[in-house]
């Protein structure tokens, strides 16, 4: 489904990713944890080429992506859903227009069809009463659910989440995690960067601990949370739990 080989990335002198290898199978939920600055966001952003890696290979559904081919990258991005920490909804568009945007502009689906598809996903995240509202009128949790619907409407083969609940008030975290759990249950392939250890324990098939641009430990949630092998992961986990 998704395969990353020997990924390297630096910003100037700062080495952020130092040889990441990762394989995600279909319907697998992989949760990435690690300290701030360890390169989690950069890894996700390299997967859909919001950052260009310096070295390494990325395969999606077996296809090796060529960063020089703009068309190919755009087509790949349309099949990879991305959810950002700060939602990044389009403020000049209503909820339904946000969800329709990729359908009409990228997948070239007629407005009429796009509306139907968009509505389906708005319903899925439980916001049918808000379809005509502008993002400014929504709570953070609602915004993030719209952002998830916007990504889902493209019918992606994998969803990338970069700390989707970190910008939310604590009481709004649950509604977003609920939508994500539902997605996982339906068999969506997901890569999730999060500090929600409860979510990781409940939903993740595999947990990855990143430190200083490297994957230090990989395992089931039980392995990582109950029997961490690496002393850096032990230190990280004891600090946050």
């Amino acid at each position: 489904m998704l395969r990353i080989e020997n990924l390297h990335k630096s910003f100037g002198d700062l080495q952020v990713l130092e040889g990441i290898d990762l394989q995600v199978k279909k319907s697998e939920v992989v949760v990435i944890i690690g300290a701030s600055g360890s390169g989690k966001s950069t890894l996700l952003r390299c997967i859909n080429f919001l950052e260009y890696s310096d070295q390494g290979k990325i395969y999606i559904e077996g296809q090796l992506l060529n960063e020089k081919n703009e068309r190919e990258i755009n087509q790949m991005r349309a099949r990879v859903g991305m959810v950002f920490q700060h939602f990044n909804l389009f403020p000049h568009k209503t909820v339904i227009e946000n969800v329709m945007e990729g359908l009409t502009q990228v997948r070239k689906i007629s407005k009429f069809e796009a509306k139907k598809i968009a509505y389906k996903y708005i319903e899925k995240v439980g916001l049918t009463d808000k379809e005509k509202v502008y993002p400014a009128m929504l709570s953070g949790g609602q915004k993030q659910r719209v952002a998830i619907a916007r990504a889902l409407a493209m019918e992606p083969v994998v969803m990338l989440f970069d700390e989707p609940t970190s910008a939310l008030d604590p009481e709004l975290v649950g509604e977003v995690l609920l939508v994500m759990k539902e997605l996982a249950r339906e068999g969506m392939t997901m890569v999730v960067v999060t500090h929600e250890m409860g979510f990781a324990r409940e939903v993740a098939d595999r947990v990855i601990f990143m430190d200083d641009g490297q994957i230090l430990e990989v395992g089931t949630p039980e392995d990582i949370f109950d029997r961490p092998q690496n002393e850096r992961s032990q230190a990280f986990l004891s600090a946050i739990i």
């Binding site: 991005r77 909804l89 568009k93 209503t94 502008y134």
Partner: protein
């Protein structure tokens, strides 16, 4: 009372000049907006030499007086390109305003959160499409207040065209005063026209802003 009567009597004599003021202002602004759009795209390019073209343009225009620019168009380019005086005037105004409007557009485009472009690109949109659909509509809205301000400056700057024989409001006031010795009254009439125009501009800009503010953000 006499003062008011003189003003009322002379206002109609200003109408052709008032029309001239509006024409060179509107044409100058239109050219300025088009140049500003083009300039902003050059300015946000990551190719240094593309960027440099716009920087040099802005450097030259902002670093020299508008009057000098008008003179260049009137005394040099008018002959070279066989333009009429009015064309020379609004081209100079357009070129001048284009530099300022470039910076207005550039600023508003760059003020849009980077996440907007990333969200659009991550849906698979190409850069130009993301610009047109997502960035520019938001940037345009943000540029309305400074743009309105620039329009008012352009209106008042159009009076400098009097120095190159354009018979706009201010030159008309001077000409009439030279004949009737009523300088205060003639200048008052000119002021009335400028205030009238700036009020209309301000009103239009506010309407446009309110209309674009439907998403209340």
């Amino acid at each position: 009372m006499e003062f008011i009567n003189v003003i009322i009597k002379y206002i109609p004599l200003f109408l052709p000049a008032a029309w001239m003021t509006i024409q060179i202002t509107v044409l100058g602004i239109t050219i300025g907006v088009l140049l500003g759009l083009a300039g902003a795209f050059l300015r946000i390019s990551d190719k240094w030499w593309v960027n440099a073209i716009a920087r040099i343009y802005i450097f030259v225009i902002r670093g020299t007086p508008l009057l000098l620019q008008l003179f260049i168009f009137f005394y040099v380019l008018r002959q070279a390109l066989s333009l009429d005086s009015m064309t020379a005037a609004f081209l100079a105004l357009g070129l001048h305003n284009g530099a300022y409007i470039t910076e207005i557009f550039r600023g508003s485009i760059q003020s849009i959160d980077h996440g907007q472009m990333e969200a659009a690109r991550s849906l698979g949109m190409s850069y130009p499409r993301a610009m047109i659909r997502i960035i520019l509509p938001q940037a345009f809205k943000r540029s309305i207040p400074p743009l309105g301000n620039q329009f008012i400056i352009a209106l008042k700057d159009s009076s400098l065209a009097s120095a190159i024989t354009i018979n706009e409001v201010l030159l008309q006031a001077q000409r009439l005063a030279a004949a009737n010795y009523k300088m205060l009254e003639m200048l008052t009439i000119a002021a009335i026209f400028y205030l009238f125009y700036t009020s209309i501009f301000t009103w239009l800009v506010n309407r446009l802003e309110a209309w674009l503010n439907v998403d209340s953000k």
